[in-house]
């Protein structure tokens, strides 16, 4: 091992010591991955409700489960979506350091190039989603203003597609080399 390498960063680098003597390094990163997953699930649910509400608005009182899914008060989700996106982004940025060493290097060694490429795709899409949040929040907080209807619909659908993409790529990557690997 090279001098100066962080012992906690990866089992591949020889570090599998307990974090503060309480949990192992693997458990530490697995817990953060779990926090990332839970916040991503909340974000996915809220944004999918909103996207359905703007793409297929309900004009009659909701009857079935699909109509009720579309009939949520979508404006109320805007702040929660922004908060969840930022939490998911920050936690994902934190565990990215571990990914770069403990996941990506073995992926490349085993020629999982498409998986690695899609993860890089995911990181770029995540930043683009992040910079859309101020306008997204503003349009939803002014939902009573018809001037913003099209922009609000467009940015919500783009964000929803982006978050689904981020979630699916993250899920596939986790299956390739994630929990307990």
């Amino acid at each position: 091992m090279n001098a100066g390498l962080r012992p906690d960063v990866s089992p591949l680098l020889g570090g599998n010591a307990a974090m503060g003597g309480l949990i192992s390094t693997n458990t530490f990163w697995t817990l953060w991955l779990f926090v990332h997953l839970i916040s991503a699930l909340g974000l996915l649910g809220a944004l999918t409700h909103q996207a359905m509400a703007v793409a297929l608005p309900v004009r009659k009182p909701a009857a079935g489960i699909v109509s009720r899914f579309r009939a949520v008060p979508a404006a109320g989700y805007a702040t929660a979506v922004c908060v969840l996106y930022v939490i998911t982004f920050v936690v994902g940025s934190f565990i990215y350091t571990q990914y770069r060493i403990a996941i990506r290097i073995p992926l490349e060694a085993r020629h999982y190039y498409k998986t690695g490429g899609f993860f890089d795709f995911k990181e770029h899409v995540a930043v683009i989603g992040l910079v859309l949040l101020p306008a997204y929040w503003y349009f939803w907080k002014n939902a009573q203003n018809p001037e913003y209807d099209n922009a609000r619909k467009g940015v919500t659908l783009v964000l929803a597609v982006a978050v689904w993409f981020l979630f699916i790529v993250g899920h596939v990557l986790n299956n390739t080399r994630g929990f307990a690997s």
């Binding site: 090279n2 001098a3 100066g4 390498l5 962080r6 960063v9 990866s10 680098l13 940025s93 990215y96 350091t97 571990q98 770069r100 060493i101 990506r104 290097i105 020629h111 190039y113 498409k114 690695g116 490429g117 890089d120 795709f121 990181e123 770029h124 899409v125 930043v127 683009i128 989603g129 992040l130 910079v131 859309l132 949040l133 101020p134 306008a135 997204y136 929040w137 503003y138 349009f139 907080k141 002014n142 009573q144 001037e147 913003y148 099209n150 922009a151 467009g154 940015v155 659908l157 783009v158 982006a162």
Partner: protein
């Protein structure tokens, strides 16, 4: 309930930030310029910082490969640079007259992220070439 009452209630529900014209200029300029700036920053490779996950070192600007230091990470630097430049443009938009910022088409907020996708796919050609071997 009269239409006036409904409108006034809707207006009351809007926070001061959400009803601010200056915030609108900031938010729309930030979100429109953000995807473009990110693609440019990534293309010209101008990260504010370079992070070395194996050593925990954080260096200013771009730092290339160093023997024994492990891989470098530029994504944090690209992200921070993008946020700073987009914020600066947003602040400029708050300062300039509203008659100018009102002319910015709002559909750019959702169109530019879509247009960024082909460039992102192209920028990852390194991976796709390796995968095609």
């Amino acid at each position: 309930m009269s239409a006036t009452t409904t409108e006034s209630r809707a207006a009351q529900r809007t926070s001061s930030l959400a009803s601010s014209r200056k915030f609108k200029a900031f938010a729309t300029t930030f979100s429109i310029s953000g995807p473009v700036i990110y693609c440019l920053i990534q293309y010209f490779n101008y990260p504010l910082v370079t992070y070395w996950p194996a050593t925990g070192r954080l260096g200013w600007g771009y730092e290339g490969a160093r023997p024994g230091a492990g891989p470098n990470m530029l994504w944090y630097g690209w992200t921070v640079t993008t946020i700073l430049i987009a914020s600066a443009l947003g602040i400029v938009a708050m300062i300039i007259p509203e008659r100018l910022t009102k002319k910015i088409p709002l559909w750019l907020v959702w169109l530019l992220p879509i247009l960024a996708v082909p460039y992102i796919v192209y920028s990852l050609m390194y991976w796709w070439r390796l995968a095609a071997r």
